[in-house]
Symmetry: C2
Subunit: 302 residues, 2 copies
Amino acid sequence: MTAPLFKKITFIGLGLIGSSLSRSIVKHGLAERLAVYDHSEAAQETIKELGLVDEICGTMEDAVRDADLVIICTPLSAYKDVAAGIAPHLKEGAIISDVGSVKATIFKDVAPLLSNHVHLVPGHPIAGTEHSGPENGFAALFEGRWSILTPAPQTDKDALAKITALWEGVGAMVELMEASHHDKVLAITSHLPHMIAYTIVDTATDLERNLKKEVIKFSASGFRDFTRIAASNPIMWRDICLANKEAILEMLGRFDEDLTSLRRALRRDDGDLLMDTFTRTREIRRKVIEAKQDAPPEKPES
Amino acid sequence: MTAPLFKKITFIGLGLIGSSLSRSIVKHGLAERLAVYDHSEAAQETIKELGLVDEICGTMEDAVRDADLVIICTPLSAYKDVAAGIAPHLKEGAIISDVGSVKATIFKDVAPLLSNHVHLVPGHPIAGTEHSGPENGFAALFEGRWSILTPAPQTDKDALAKITALWEGVGAMVELMEASHHDKVLAITSHLPHMIAYTIVDTATDLERNLKKEVIKFSASGFRDFTRIAASNPIMWRDICLANKEAILEMLGRFDEDLTSLRRALRRDDGDLLMDTFTRTREIRRKVIEAKQDAPPEKPES
């Protein structure tokens, strides 16, 4: 057994992603000690019951003391308060990372408050389920999945190497990307699909009562997949939308044009245009399967 | 073992649904003999190789001769030709059914050509995968799934009872519904979700090449589920859209209003409206799970 990568890792917030990461770090022996600060009392109870970490702290100050690595796993809207709460108490040489779905936020809300003696290596694992909370995390969540790191150009190489080793240690593949490019890619692969799924499920909730009952009963015909996506954590998704507003609005604009064109074709009985569109999209699916991104996330071992 | 429900069942067309049904009929001993007419030579080859039926016929006339039950399993655009091809050759008392996703079509394109001596019992199993063709069918496809029957009010009760027994025999649950109501329900549960999924995947195919590569690479973040839906058979979906045009356009109109409202909220940084929408939709997911419609279709036994 090699030495652990880190002596002490501190999580700020421990929901689905944070608790999956903590479980996997424990499983693979990547840290000597784990500490957590989570402002939710319910989460604290669950973390304690499940014995997920060594130390549950009452303040952020206590939690980050002596930490070699601090990982922010809160919704994006909490980043400002987290930065204010941890920055003065970080030890020299500490690494700060996160798992947020929009990378602009950590540069805007956290980076300016950090001293030059700590290292910022933002991250975003492309993994998750529609469930939330520490009770729903599982150690295998990141296996075979991508984790995107978006360091600034001047980032300390050793700090970057250690965060890379951490993600590889939990089974993920690491990709480096510029933060603003990350936010554009995720706007189309993740944020737009979630907005669309939320909308279509909301359209269904607005139907007259009888029809709505049948929508649920016969959801297996396609609707069901949208309800799964639209069951994701509302706070997390509100924050993502607001934080990546410009890129999402740009993608929504493109989508709206394409939908209008398809709708016009349908109104004019233009079967050829429908056929062309429906054929073109199969190609993308083929590539997703080739890229081995087609498997659903693995279920928690119980 | 009880006697089979039917002496001879004939399939017109044998793709994913037809071949799944034929496999399940064989498995459960629901017919003495199965015949098929499929105009595709490739399909004929596959059906022969897999030994799915007793008799592969060269014409519709041959296939339906002496059949007690004829099940149309072609795309909707073929219904008119199928009706013309089979109607003069049906035996007295034969039952005609189908598995089409829009029920207006069989009443419009098939019913007028049938004599009064045969019985029409239209059907639509709410089951399927994104794959097509007889090689992708599997016997368990209908187990625990709904099959909707949309008989006219004057339909022969015995014929209806036999088709009900057939679907229950392959493990499905049967629901009776008025055809036009069926088409309205499916417009929101199935047809609109498919149109939306096709559109969003098409929006992604239109991105600059580099971004497109990354969309595929990081599709696990939500986009992947849409690519699965958008990989469905293009001919089948072109036909469904054209056949259920009015109901789909109505649902597209509602969806468009809701999306515009969400987009406006995002542009105005209205986090409360986003939060309300994203919270409301979770309730529908809970009901889908309660209704036991949340499991993905089972994979073929191999």
